[in-house]
C-alpha cells in the first residue's frame, strides 16, 4: 500500500510539473490560436477544438492547482481563446484584427513607432 501511495505521489508531482509548464506556455502565447496549441493556417474542426480546450482546462484549472496564481490567469486566457475561436462571428472579427495588427506592425517597423494599441480580445466580460 505504501508503495502504491509513493507511486501515486510521484505521479501527482509529475502532473504538477506538466501543469505549470502548460500554464507558462499559455500565459506566454501571442494569440488565441497559440493558447490552444493550434495553427492559424489550418481549418479548425469544432470537435477537435473542444477536445483540446478540455484537455488544457483539466491541466490548468484553478481547482486542479489550488493556491497557484498562474492557474487562474492562464485559465482565463485559455477560456477567452476558446470562447472566441468556437464562435464563428467572434472568430471572424478576431482574425480580421490579427491581420490588421500584422499589417500595422509591418508598416510600423518601417516607420519606427511602437504598436499594440487598444487591442480587444473579443471576450464577453
Amino acid at each position: 500500500v505504501e508503495k502504491q501511495k509513493e507511486v501515486s505521489a510521484i505521479h501527482i508531482e509529475k502532473d504538477a510539473v506538466i501543469s505549470v509548464d502548460e500554464m507558462r506556455r499559455i500565459l506566454g502565447s501571442a494569440d488565441h490560436y497559440e493558447a490552444l496549441g493550434l495553427s492559424r493556417t489550418n481549418k479548425i474542426d469544432a470537435v477537435f477544438l473542444k477536445k483540446e480546450y478540455r484537455k488544457k482546462a483539466m491541466l490548468v484549472h484553478p481547482d486542479k492547482n489550488m493556491g497557484s496564481p498562474l492557474a487562474s490567469e492562464s485559465f482565463k486566457k485559455l477560456q477567452c481563446a476558446y470562447e472566441v475561436l468556437s464562435d464563428t462571428t467572434k472568430k471572424r472579427d478576431y482574425d480580421e484584427q490579427l491581420r490588421k495588427e500584422e499589417f500595422k506592425s509591418v508598416a510600423q517597423k518601417s516607420s519606427g513607432t511602437p504598436s499594440q494599441q487598444g487591442r480587444s480580445d473579443y471576450c464577453s466580460e
Binding site: K5, K50, A57, D63, S72, C123, S124
Partner: protein, 626 residues
Amino acid sequence: MASTAAQIHLIRPSFAPNPTRTTSKSGFFGTSVSFTTPKSSLPRLRKCSNRRNHSLRVAAEKVVGIDLGTTNSAVGAMEGGKPVIVTNAEGQRTTPSVVAYTKNGDRLVGQIAKRQAVVNPENTFFSVKRFIGRKMIEVDEEAKQVSYNVVRDDNGNVKLDCPAIGKQFAAEEISAQVLRKLVDDASKFLNEKVSKAVVTVPAYFNDSQRTATKDAGRIAGLEVLRIINEPTAASLAYGFERKNNETILVFDLGGGTFDVSVLEVGDGVFEVLSTSGDTHLGGDDFDKRIVDWLALSFKNDEGIDLLKDKQALQRLTETAEKAKMELSTLTQANISLPFITATADGPKHIETTLTRAKFEELCSDLLDRLKTPVQNSLRDAKLSISDIDEVILVGGSTRIPAVQGVVKSLTGKDPNVTVNPDEVVALGAAVQAGVLAGDVSDIVLLDVTPLSIGLETLGGVMTKIIPRNTTLPTSKSEGSGKKQDITITGASTLPSDEVERMVSEAERFSKEDKEKRDAIDTKNQADSVVYQTEKQLKELGEKVPAEVKEKVEAKLEELKKAITEGVTQVIKDTMAALNQEVMQLGQSLYNQPGATPGAGGADGPSEASNKGPEGDVIDADFTDSK
C-alpha cells in the same frame, strides 16, 4: 476460584477498547498489568496509537461535501475513490435542517428538534434557508408562512426571534448550528477531524445569499472551500463514473427552490451551459396547498380559522407533508387530526381523505410554474429538447407523480431514476471536495456562478443577473466593460465584525455544550457506580471484611454527596476514589484464605465491579481527549 476468574474477567473489559486500536502490545499489558497500573499506562498507550495513525495518514485532511437544504441536509465524502453518504449520529442519511431552543434554554438540532416542533412552534427554526442573506422586504411572504417570528433589524436585514432564550438570531447563526451538527457527526463517522467543506446552494442564489452561506460555515468553525450550485453538484455525482459525452438537464425541485441546469459532460469536464429556476417554488409550497385546503374546509364546517393557531398550523403542516409523500405511491391518503382545536361544544377533529387527483388540482398552478424555467434553460443553452441525452431528477419533490408527468411532457423522455434525489447533491459536493483535495484527478467543473474561481465577492455587491452562458471566471476588465451590470443594493449580509462575534460565541457555546454533555455523562455514570456498589455490598454481605466495607461505604457516601452538589470534577474524583476501594474489596475477597463464594456471590462481583473499571476507562478517555 470462581471469584478469581470473575476478577480477571472484570479487568479484561477495561482493556477491551485497546486491542482493537493498537497492536498486540496492549494485549500484553492487558493481561500482565496489576490493578493500579491501568490508569497510568492507558493514556500513554493511547497517545502512542494516535501518533501511529498520524504518520500513516499521508493524504491531507478530509474535505466533505454538504448539501445544506431548506428542509433536509446531507453530507458526502470520498471513501475509497467513491462518493458516499455520511450517516449522522442518529444513523440517518439525511438530517432535518431544524434548530430549536427548549424552554430551559437547551439547543436541539436535527430530528430531535423537528420532533418537538408541534409543542414549541415559536422556538423551532425550519426553512431558514429561505431567509439567509435576504433583506426583510424580500421575504414578506415567506415570513408569514413560518411558525416563528421573523423580524427586521436596524439595517433592514432578517432576524429570527427566539423568545425561549430572549435572543434574536441571524439566519446564518441557525444554519451554522445545522452545519456544526453535520460536521461533528461526519467527524465521528469518518473518525477524523473535519474542518473543510464544499457547500451547495441553489443555482439562483445571489451573491448575498452565497456570502451568507459562507459566513454560516465560518460561524460553525468550518472553512468553506467552495460554494457550488446544487444542480451542478447533482451532475457531478451522475457523471462521476460515466466518461462518454452527454448533454444533461438537471431538474431540481427541492424543499424551497426550483433549479434547472443544462450541462455538457465530456472528457471529465463538466460545463454548465445555462441555468434557470424559481426561487419561490418548492416542496413546502405543495404542503401549503394541502394545509390551506384543510384549513378552508374546517373553517367552512366549524367557523374556526386554524391558520391563526400556531400549534394547529404546525400539526396541519406535518400532516400535509406526510399526505403529500403518501400520494407519491398511493392514489389517496387518509388525514386524521384528532383534537385539532376545541370550542364550547367540545373538542374538534379533522378526519378526511385526499385523493391524488384532488392534490394535483390543488397544485395545478405550481405544476405550471415548472415549465418556464425548463424552456428558458434550453433557450439559453441554445439547444432544443432533442439535444438532451438525459434528464436527471433531484430533490424529494421530484417523487411527486404529477411533477414527473410535467418533466415527461416537457422533455418527451423518461427521466433518469438511477440517482437518489435526496442524496445526489451531497454526493456531487463530495466529488468536488475530492477534486479540491486532490483525491479526484480526472474531473473538472466549469460553472457559471458569480462566486466561482478567481472572482472574489465583495460584501454588499450583488450581481443583478447571473450572466447567462458565460463561463466564469473571466476578468471583469476584459472585453466590453460589462461590469456595469453590477448593482449596489446595500449589504444584506452580516458585517464582518458581527460574524467574528458570532464565531467566538459559537465557539463558547460549543465548549459549554461539551461541558454540559460531560456533566450529564459523569452524573449518569456516578449514579450507576453508586447503584452497582450498593448492590455488590448487599449481595456480598458478611463476606466483606468490616474495615474494607467501611472504607467503601465512606467513599460511597462521599460520591452520593458529590452527586447532589453536582460539580463534575469532584464527582469524577470521588468516583475514581470509590472505584479504587471497590477494587480493594475485590482483591480482599480473592486474598481471603479458603474463600469460596457461593454461586450468587460469584455473579455479583463480576457484574458489579465490572462497572467500576469501566468507569475508569471512560475517565481516561476524557483526559486523553483534552
